[in-house]
Amino acid sequence: MRPGRRILGSEHLAGWVFVLPATVLIVVFGIIPIGWVVLLSLQHNDLLAAPTWAGLSNYRELVHDPEFRDSVRRTIVYTALFVPISVGGALAVALLLHSEIRFNRFYRTAVFVPVATSTVATGILFNWLLDPTYGIANYLLGKVGLGPYGFFQDPDQALYAIVAMTVWGWLGFDVIIYLAALQGIPGDVLEAAALDGAGRWATFRHVVLPLLSPATLFLVVWSTINALQVFDEIYVTTRGGPLQATTVIVYELYNQAFALFHAGYAAAIALVLFLITLVFSVLQLWVGNRRVHYSS
């Protein structure tokens, strides 16, 4: 049989017909943009007029831009707080929920509901809760002798307030993942540990935690990627302020591209963001995979 016939053979043809719509769409909206963003980063482009060649000047500018450097620093501070707090907090909550106690369904619903709450609604809601003058947060904290705080309006507190708000919004998803992983731990493993005389802490530390490690690795990588990309909640609350205190990388990227129309410069920022995301993910997966315990 000639090779041409084989390619036109029915299974080849059917295969391509089946994947064609998805492939065209992913090429147009997934693959072409990757090449294009590299090209853009080498251009001066205002999204309207014909672009001009810029060579590496966008990158050269980027390296010396203190505003960009600060946005990277803030993003990393945010990520370094958000990831351990949300993943660690979710582990604790999941362990508490993984039992047959009364009201369990209610507790679960309470923890899961923010997952369905959009980032925009979360932002508007927290603007109100954390309002320095009339907000209920300052009222409740005042009851225990704390505050009043400026929260989003205080440059020294805004980023931490963003951390608190986003942990509230994302915790439920992590808890769902951990509960599914806990469900997967066979009871006889725990019984065996108990028979061997392991205490509760030892069982947790040496049996449960290792069995949860694939879920932990997934959540750490996933949360890190999301934290490095945080934008919505900041746009709706602080708009990167006050005094740039919450201008993270994607906010800077958005601002450069769609407010200042420096699309070439913004493309360079986007590629640096990609590089940072890639380095973090690869590093976490590399370190994680040596420690993760995959049960067969």
Binding site: L25, L47, T109, A110, L125, T133, Y139, A215
Partner: protein
């Protein structure tokens, strides 16, 4: 002797945690039925003097929430339907059919998963601009018609199904499309539900892409409309919270009613 509590000590932690998660939403509702004066008072008015439902009427009148909902429904509905269709077709081909270039294509499509949307949003905007779809629902929908994640999810699921049934159907003269729609998909409802629910949540709550593509109010989605509603009514918190409740209520109700499905779907995106 150890004192024993009459209830599990877990409640001591779970009650405050639940309160922390729920109180913001409860407070959102309480504020939404207060008068403007009550919201501008410190200490806050914890129990409103009756339900001022007129805030909802006022919010509804001052921004076209009905229009936002219709737009969001169109965008989300189209994205869910097209993801289910195209990802099924592609996922089935990648799982079962042997065709030229299959492995390379699969890896290439999957590789795009590694690139976050934020990285490619500028060229994506330029592509939508070239297609003449800026400031239209089409522009919102186009990049969301198919996700590599969906193809991967369905392919993995299809591969766990026994192949015998499909072969028997083929021998009986069923077409490949017939096999997919009559045999494979009815067996794949859990995976399809997962893809549908995740696409629904993601598209409905998406903000960044509408923010970039849409400029006019009558093309806004719920999320974008809500954000500009906030911009227009700065500190009228009762009005803003009424808008928030209206925007959130449908999703929250669906979520609580179908919680089991949502949870199972989200859980299966993480594990494996």
């Amino acid at each position: 002797m150890r004192m024993r509590l009459p209830f599990s000590p877990r409640h001591l932690a779970l009650v405050p945690i639940s309160a922390l998660m729920l109180l913001p939403l409860v407070w959102m509702f309480v504020t939404s039925v207060e008068t403007l004066d009550q919201t501008r008072h410190f200490p806050p008015t914890l129990i409103p003097s009756g339900f001022h439902w007129s805030n909802y009427r006022a919010a509804w009148d001052q921004a076209p929430f009905g229009r936002f909902f219709v737009n969001s429904l169109i965008v989300t509905g189209t994205a869910v339907a097209s993801n289910l269709l195209f990802c099924s077709l592609a996922g089935y081909a990648f799982a079962r059919l042997r065709f030229f270039g299959r492995e390379v294509l699969f890896i290439a499509l999957l590789a795009t998963l590694m690139v976050p949307f934020q990285v490619i949003m500028i060229p994506t905007f330029l592509i939508v601009q070239h297609l003449g779809l800026v400031d239209s629902l089409g522009g919102l929908i186009a990049p969301n018609l198919v996700t590599p994640f969906g193809i991967f999810l369905l392919r993995q699921f299809f591969r766990t199904l026994p192949v015998d049934l499909e072969e028997a159907a083929r021998i009986d003269g069923c077409t490949r499309l017939g096999v997919l729609f009559r045999i494979v998909l009815p067996l794949s409802l859990p995976a399809l539900a997962t893809l549908g629910i995740v696409t629904f949540l993601w598209t409905w709550n998406d903000f960044l892409w509408p923010l970039i593509v849409i400029t006019s109010t009558d093309q806004s989605t719920v999320q974008l409309g809500l954000a500009s509603f906030q911009g227009a009514h700065d500190t009228k918190w009762n009005l803003l919270m009424a808008g928030n409740v209206m925007a959130l209520a449908p999703m929250l109700i669906v979520f609580v009613v179908a919680q089991r499905w949502f949870v199972r779907s989200l859980a299966s995106t993480g594990i494996r």
